[in-house]
Amino acid sequence: MTLPQVTPLPIVLVAGNPNSGKSTIFNALSGSRAHVANYPGVTIDRVSAPVTIDGRDLELVDLPGTYSLSARSREEQIAVDSLLGRNLPSPAAMVVVVDAAALGRALFMALEVIATGVPVVIAVNMSDEVARDGIVIDLAKLGAMTGAEVVRTVATKGGGIANLKAAIGRAAARAPSEAPLVERPAAVALDLAALEAAILAEQVLERPGAARAWATWLLLSLDDDGADDLIGVPPALRTLTLDIRRRAAAAGRNVDLEIISSFYQRVDTIVEAVVTRPPEPRRHQTDRIDAVLTHGLYGGAVFAVVMLVVFQALFTWSEPAIALIESGVAGVQALAATALPAGPLTDLIINGIIAGVGNVVVFVPQIGLLFLFIGLLEDSGYLARVAFVIDRLMRSVGLNGRAFVPMLSGFSCAVPAVMATRTIESRTDRLLTMLVLPLMSCSARLPVYVLVTATVFAPGTRFGYLSAGAVLLFAMYMLSVVAALTAAAVLRRTVLKGPGAPLVLELPPYRLPAPRVLLFNVWQRVRAFLIGAGTVILALTIVLWALLSYPRAGDASAGDQLRQSFAGRLGHAIEPAIEPLGFDWRIGVGIIGAFAAREVFVSTLAIVFDIESGGAEDEPLRDALRAATWPDGRRLMTPLAGVSLMVFFVLACQCMSTIAVVRRESGTWTWPLFMLAYMTVLAYAASLAVYQIGSRLGLGLG
C-alpha cells in the first residue's frame, strides 16, 4: 500500500529545565498558534506550533521540562526519542532554554543535547535577572566552547526573540554534526564505543553521532531488574548494556557517576570561562521574602491565608458562572422543547445531548479558576514554597508536598483537582493523589447532606450545645479527610509501592507572572478537559438518560416512567444488597441517578416521590421522605439511615465526570475503574457498619 506523500514540516524541538521560561519562549515564538496532540502511548500532551522563519515553514515542538535526558519511564523517554528521531522524523534543530542565573546546572542538559550532534540553539533566558545582579555572561565564548548558536533572551518582554528566530533558521539549515564538541566521557569511553558499535550494527540508528548519544543514554537509563519501563530497546542491546554495567560494578566503578561527573566537569570549565560575577553578591529580594514566607509562624499564617483565599474564590467566584451556565442550559432545553415535536428523539436531544453538554460546560468555571490560581502560584514561585512547607505533613501518608493544592481543591470539585495533579512530577505520586482525591468531600455532596440532615432531624435538634445538623456536617468533612489520607497511606503500601521518587524541588526566585502565558495555559487546560473528558461525560449522560427513560411507559407521569425504567428496575434489583445499609429501592434509584453528579440525587428522589421541582431546601420532598416507610410500616428515613446514606455519599465514587477525568489524566481505563471499585467497596462496608452496628445498639431509630 502506498500512502499519499505528505512532506512533514522540519521539526524544531524546544527543551529546557523546569522554570527556565520554556513555555514563555515557546509562546513568544509561536504566537499562541499552538496545537495539542498526544505522544503515542503516553498521557503527555505534545504541544506544537507552525512557525515561518526566513520563508521556511517549521514545526516547533515543546518537550516536557526536565533536568536531563535520562529516563526510567516512557514519559521521560519522550525527550530522547524525539531528539534522536525515534518516534517522529529527526529534528532539524533543537532549542535549549537555559536560566542564565543557573547556568551551572542548565548546561548539563544542554551538553547532553549537543552531544547528539543535532544543531542546537541555546537561549540564555532570564538575562534581565542576571544583568540586574551584575553577572556578565560571555555569549561568544559560550558558543565557541559548545558549538551551539547562543542567543540572549528576555522571554517575558519579547527580548531577543527575533535573534532567536534567526538563530533557529541558521541551525535548521545545518546538517547534524558527527563530531560534536562534547566528546565521550573519558572514563567510560571504551564501554560507550562498544555499545555504539552494537547500536550501529543493529541498525537502530544510522547516524554515528546519534548512536553515541544513545549509548550514553542506555547506560544511564536502563535498569537491571526490569525496573525501568522503557520501550524500543532491542533485547541484544539491553543485554549488552546491562553486562557493561555489571562488569563495571564488579570492578568497583559507578557508571552513572562517571558519565554525569564528566559532563559536569565540562560544565564547570565552561561556566568558569564565560561567567563573571561581581565580587560582592548582594542579598537577593527572594532571600528576604523567603525569610518570611518559609518561616514557621509568619509563613504558616501567609500560607493559611493564601489557601483560604484560593479555596473561597473557587467556591464563590465560580458560583455565579455555574448558575449562569445552568440557567442557559435550561433555557436552551426549554427552547428546544417548544421548537421540536414531542417524541423520543426530542427527549434525547433535550435530556440527553443538551443536558450532557451542560454537564461538561458546567465544570469550565472551576477548572479555569483553579488553573488561573495554580498558574499564578506556580509562575510567581510560591507553589514550590507551599510544597516545601507542607511536604513533611503530606509525606506522613505517602503523598508529597505538591499534592497539597490538588487535595485542597478536592473540597470544591474533584474534576479540576484531578487535572491539577499535573504539577506533581512523579507518575506514581500523581496517580496516588488522583485516586484518593475524590474522597475529599466536594461541593456537590453538600445538597445531599443538607437534604438528609434536614429530613431526619427536626429543626433545632441539638447534641449538647451544637445543632445536630452542624455536628453531622462537620463529621462528614472529617470522615472525608481521614478516609482520603488513610486511603493514600494504604495504597502507597500496596498497589502503588513502586520505587520512591526523591523530592527534588527547585525554589525559583519570586517573579511577576506574565498574564499572556498564564491565560494561554488556562485555555490549554480547559480545552484539554473539553476534548479529553468532555466527550466521555457526554456519552455517559446519554447512557444514563436512556437508563432513566426506557422502556417507555406511554403517557404515565414522570414518577411512573422512572419507576418502571431500567434504572427503576435496577433500583428494585439492588434492593436486597442495599437493604442492610438502610436503603430501599427508591433510594437505590436516587443513587443510580446521582452517578450523573451527586446533587442529582435530590432531583431524582423528587421524581421517584412524585414531587414537582424538588430542591434540597424544598419542604415537600422532606415531608415525603419523612413519611416514607418500608412495606412493613417501619420508617425509612430514620436518623440512622440518614447517617448511613451520608457516609455512603462521602465515600462512594458517585460521579461519572471524575471517572472521565481520571481516565483522561491516567491514560487508561484501569485506574478509574480501580478507583470506582475501591471507593464503592469502601462506601458499602462503611455504611453497612454504621447501619448494622447502630441498629444493634438501638441508636437513631426513632
Binding site: 533536568y67 546546572r105 557517576l257 561527573s261 512547607v389 526523591p502 527534588v504 527547585e506 525554589l507 525559583p508
Partner: protein, 77 residues
C-alpha cells in the same frame, strides 16, 4: 531522624561543605547527581522547613530543596 556526622543532613543552617559521595537507591542517586550534586560541588544549607524537613540548599547558584532522607545519603567533607 538523627543525622550521621559527615552527611549533608548534619550540616548546620548557614553551613557550607563540599559533596564527597552520594549513596542510596540508584534512581535517587542519579537524580541528585544530574541536578548537580556531583562530588566536588559546594553546597550551602540555607534553611529548614518549619516542620524540620525538607531542607533548602544552595547548589551551583540555584536553590534546591530535598528531604532529609536523601540528604542522609550525601556525604560531605
Amino acid at each position: 531522624m538523627t543525622s550521621k556526622p559527615g552527611s549533608l543532613a548534619a550540616l548546620p543552617v548557614g553551613g557550607t561543605a563540599i559533596v564527597s559521595r552520594v549513596r542510596g537507591e540508584r534512581a535517587v542517586v542519579r537524580r541528585l547527581l544530574e541536578i548537580g550534586l556531583v562530588p566536588g560541588t559546594k553546597v550551602t544549607l540555607r534553611r529548614v522547613a518549619p516542620m524540620g524537613d525538607p531542607i533548602e540548599l544552595k547548589v551551583r547558584n540555584f536553590t534546591l530543596s530535598i528531604r532529609r532522607s536523601e540528604a542522609l545519603g550525601i556525604d560531605i567533607e
